[in-house]
């Protein structure tokens, strides 16, 4: 029982971040028809900019941080993330989209991913970084841990889950209720129509590339102190978010978010749960959800009766 609680809490906390990445992947796919392979690396970029501004590249202890400087860091990181997301779209992706070149945008998004990875790796040269915690969770419970139904879980996990759910709700709300969101819906359903009624399509799409990155980055920053953060953590975030988005076929923000939660839960359960003597263990946790998604895609492809061009 205690293990189940622990799996649920850690799974939902990890899944919340995947879910926000999945929301971003879905939105981008529905706006442009592309898969943004650099998404996870853009999120990692924002996390590392936060770290750079808040604490520099030196090793940090978890508590040596002034809240004011952290907020500044977060602000700088979000601005940089939005700017960079928009710039990469305008410079490298849109030209190939306009030419209808699938091969072009796949190559461009991957090149962006590796350029970002390299940029981070050249600045932060150690394999992984412990992330400072701006909110003093360690003062709650026993050094940041509370015991629920016999399981000791990090207080931060609840904060991450709540924040991620709030951000997903914000995204869903903004998409339905704001002018910006309705403009995005118009673009997703009919680009030419949106252009015809005078929407600045290119600008809105470019902005969205940054905004979804920033949204996911907020959750990633909140979750980052849980475990050491590295460049690969970011890339894997992007990958798992993509898997979640693929499972729900780039569906609505809520569907994508829930799929992300599901991937997180599945990972935690595979890592930790044992049924009798049978348990898979942590080496299966990352691989199996990916394999499941791949199998699902193959199944849908083979079952579909459309000749070509279906998801």
């Amino acid at each position: 029982m205690s293990l189940v609680v622990q799996v649920i809490v850690t799974g939902l906390a990890a899944g919340g971040v995947y879910g926000l990445v999945a929301v971003g992947h879905s939105l981008i796919y529905r706006l442009t028809g592309i898969v943004y392979f650099a998404f996870g690396d853009l999120v990692a970029f924002a996390v590392f900019v936060t770290l750079l501004v808040a604490a520099g590249t030196a090793p940090v202890s978890q508590t040596s941080l002034a809240p004011g400087r952290f907020l500044l860091a977060l602000f700088v990181a979000l601005a940089a993330c939005i700017g960079l997301g928009a710039a990469t779209y305008v410079l490298f992706i849109e030209p190939y989209l306009l030419r209808g070149s699938t091969l072009g945008w796949v190559a461009a998004t991957l090149a962006i991913a590796f350029a970002l990875r390299g940029m981070i790796g050249a600045t932060f040269t150690r394999p992984a970084y412990v992330f400072p915690d701006p909110i003093p969770f360690d003062r709650i419970g026993h050094g940041g841990l509370v015991t629920i139904a016999g399981a000791s879980v990090q207080v931060r996990s609840f904060f991450v889950i709540a924040l991620a759910a709030a951000l997903a709700a914000l995204a869903a709300w903004a998409l339905e209720r704001t002018r910006y969101g309705r403009a995005l819906q118009a673009i997703a359903s009919d680009v030419e129509g949106a252009r015809f009624v005078g929407l600045p399509v290119e600008g809105l799409v470019a902005l969205t590339f940054g905004v979804v990155g920033g949204l996911a980055a907020l959750a990633a920053v909140a979750a980052a102190p849980t475990a050491p953060f590295s460049v690969d953590t970011g890339t894997l975030l992007g990958l798992k978010g993509l898997v979640a988005a693929l499972i729900v076929r780039f569906g609505s923000p809520w569907a994508a978010f829930c799929a992300g939660l599901g991937v997180g839960l599945a990972e935690a359960a595979i890592d930790n749960l044992r049924i009798g003597d049978f348990g898979l263990g942590p080496q299966y946790g990352e691989v199996l959800p990916l394999a499941f998604a791949l199998g699902l895609i193959a199944y849908r492809s083979l079952r579909s009766d459309a000749a070509f061009g279906r998801a």
Binding site: Y29, G33, I34, V35, F37, L91, F92, P95, Y96, S101, T102, L103, G104, V106, A107, A108, L110, A111, I112, A113, F114, A115, L116, R117, G118, M119, G121, A122, T125, L239, L242, V243, L246, Q283, Y284, E286, V287, L290, A291, A293, L294, I297, A298, S301, L302, S304, A306, A307, F308, G309, R310, A311
Partner: protein
């Protein structure tokens, strides 16, 4: 007897020699010189210390050229080439290190394993659109690397798998021997790419890459060709991976991850996926970036490889940002504009006028019905197409004309009803099976293959009748394949002559006017040697002179014994060509007969002619 055989062999060799001389160009000479120079380089230049690196690079280039079969020929954005290299490498390593197999059988096993992995991946992703193929193969790359790091036992633990020394006829394979072997394989892979790309299988793949649906309509086996291209691409990677692991003598799982797949993909794109030498050029560009990164990183005292990803990424973004997908195509375009290239203007010697239909058969449809949710598109439609007649299908917009055509051509299956050609029920036959029996349709929208020339376009249609010129026979230039190619070209030229596009045969199809693009679609359909031809609004956008020419064209086709179905709005045009008219309204046939009979029909007047006059 034996002298006859010798004589025949001699004349065959002489003919082959003549053909080689006729096809020998400056490019062939340059290619031969380049291969020779690459082969003798280790003996002349002081390279002995660099041989292992050079050999490894050449094997990587082989894998990159292999990837171009999937990316360039078939247009599949595969991000999994690293996986197939890894499958080849680990099959080889396990067979040799654990199974104790000799070199050659284990190489064969590695190629088969990689081809099977590629075939399975191709099968699973074959019907997905590009974005999903890229995502799935990318996920596959990550699955492999995560599995190998999570289960180190699979790949021989921390040391990796160590291979015994490779020997061929008792002699050890040195790095120099690997290099020479690699150069030969690279040359073969490049030549094979060039041969396939410009001939029937390559043209069919190009058509399917641009526009899968019209390609299906011409009977191109799109799924099978794509699968073949993907499997071939994986097989080549498997061979390169297996030989690479023989060269390194140790299989290290960390090398076959997403980074390798990314590098190979970008090499192909940057160099030019559709040019045989493109992948090699792209790989050279990437190597320049990574070497520069190594040097700079060394100066700054950074660990090796730290800057490599960054500079490679920046360099590629620079190339891609400048719009340079395809350095070689860009260079060639520049060269052509400087030199002022002229498409071949010499009159073709062999034009085969379109033959009359042999074994003409009527097509009879009975009780065709099709619903789209609550909308009834076709309601118990009967239709008869007789050889040597033109049957026009008319009716208001949305009356089900195009749905009827699609049901006949096999593009869309009707919910119920039967379609019989002669006494041969077409039932669930695919578009390709119908096209082979002689039932071919054209699309309502102009759907041409923009990358192909006019002649190549018609050759895609003529390719339907290939029997002995599949990819392998084409590759080995067997006499049957060459005879069939010549035959197909004669027929394609004949079809172009008939529609009046012979003079344009060397031009890119997308330079033609809209009406001529329609004629080109018609010519491609004619090149399949159809018995029954289904035309969706061929007169759309035609001027009055063009209309006159179209009338005589359709009359000529009728004279050759084709059964023609014509969907048409222009009733003046219908009056000039149609022997039979069927009027549809809301998916039902409301009248049928000659145009005058139909025009006199009460139902038709009520439904349709109240708004128009003949």
């Amino acid at each position: 007897m034996s002298t006859t055989v010798v004589g025949q062999t001699g004349s065959a060799l002489a003919a082959a020699g003549r053909e080689i001389r006729a096809g020998w160009t400056l490019r062939t000479t340059l290619a031969m010189l380049a291969i020779a120079a690459a082969l003798i380089a280790p003996g002349v230049l002081p390279l002995s210390g660099r041989m292992p690196d050079l050999a490894a690079f050449v094997y990587l280039a082989v894998a990159a050229v292999g990837l171009a079969y999937a990316v360039g020929l078939a247009g599949i954005p595969s991000l999994g080439q690293g996986v197939f290299l890894g499958v080849g490498a680990f099959t080889e390593a396990i067979a040799r290190a654990k199974g104790g197999w000799p070199l050659v059988p284990s190489l064969l096993l590695a190629v088969v394993a990689a081809a099977a992995a590629g075939g399975l991946t191709g099968l699973a992703t074959g019907r997905l659109r590009g974005a999903f193929v890229a995502a799935s193969t990318w996920i596959l790359s990550w699955i492999v690397v995560l599995t190998l790091t999570s289960f180190p036992g699979l790949s021989g633990g921390a040391q990796g798998l160590v291979l015994p020394e490779a020997t061929v006829f008792g002699r050890t394979l040195t790095p120099t021997a690997h290099y020479e072997l690699g150069i030969v394989l690279l040359a073969l892979a490049i030549v094979a790419f060039a041969v396939i790309a410009r001939r029937a299988p390559g043209l069919a793949l190009a058509a399917a890459r641009e526009q899968p649906n019209p390609a299906l309509g011409l009977g191109v086996p799109v799924a099978r060709l794509r699968l073949g291209a993907f499997a071939a691409s994986a097989a080549i990677a498997g061979l390169a991976g297996a030989l690479g692991v023989e060269l390194a003598q140790v299989a290290d799982p960390s090398g076959y991850g997403p980074v390798l797949s990314f590098k190979l993909f970008v090499a192909v794109i940057v160099g030019g996926a559709r040019m045989p030498l493109g992948p090699v050029a792209g790989l050279l560009v990437i190597s320049v970036f990574s070497h520069a990164a190594e040097q700079i990183g060394g100066l700054r005292g950074l660990p090796p490889g730290r800057l490599e990803e960054m500079l490679t990424g920046y360099g590629l973004l620079l190339v891609l940002g400048l719009g340079g997908i395809g350095l070689l195509p860009a260079a060639r375009g520049w060269w052509d504009t400087r030199r002022g290239s002229s498409p071949d203007a010499a009159p073709p010697t062999h034009v085969e006028p379109l033959a009359s239909v042999e074994g003409a058969r009527p097509l009879a449809a009975r009780g065709l019905s099709k619903r789209f949710e609550s909308l009834v598109a076709l309601d118990e439609l009967d239709l008869d197409l007789t050889p040597g007649t033109v049957h026009a299908l008319v009716g208001p917009n949305g009356s089900g004309k195009t749905t009827a055509l699609r049901a006949l051509s096999g593009e869309q299956r009707p919910d119920s009803g039967s379609i019989v050609l002669g006494d041969d029920p077409l039932g669930p036959a695919t578009q390709r099976a119908r096209a082979r029996r002689g039932v071919v349709g054209t699309q309502q929208t102009t759907a041409i293959f923009p990358d192909l020339t006019v002649l190549e376009h018609a050759l895609v249609g003529a390719g339907l009748r290939r029997r002995r010129s599949g990819p392998f026979r084409t590759l080995f230039r067997t006499p049957q394949a060459r005879a069939e190619e010549a035959n197909a070209e004669r027929r394609a030229l004949g079809a172009l002559e008939l529609v009046g596009l012979l003079e344009d045969r060397g031009r890119p199809a997308n330079e033609l006017s809209a009406h001529r693009q329609r004629l080109l679609m018609l010519a491609s359909a004619l090149a399949t040697q159809p018995r029954v031809l289904l035309l969706d609004e061929p007169a759309a956008g035609a001027s009055s002179t063009e209309l006159d020419r179209l009338v005589s064209l359709l009359q000529a086709l009728r004279g050759k014994g084709l059964a023609l179905l014509l969907i048409e709005h222009n009733l003046r045009f219908v009056r000039r060509v149609a022997d039979q008219v069927t009027v549809l309204e809301a998916g039902r046939r409301i009248a049928s007969g000659t145009l005058d009979e139909v025009a006199a029909d009460e139902n038709v007047r009520a439904a349709y002619l109240g708004r128009r006059s003949f």
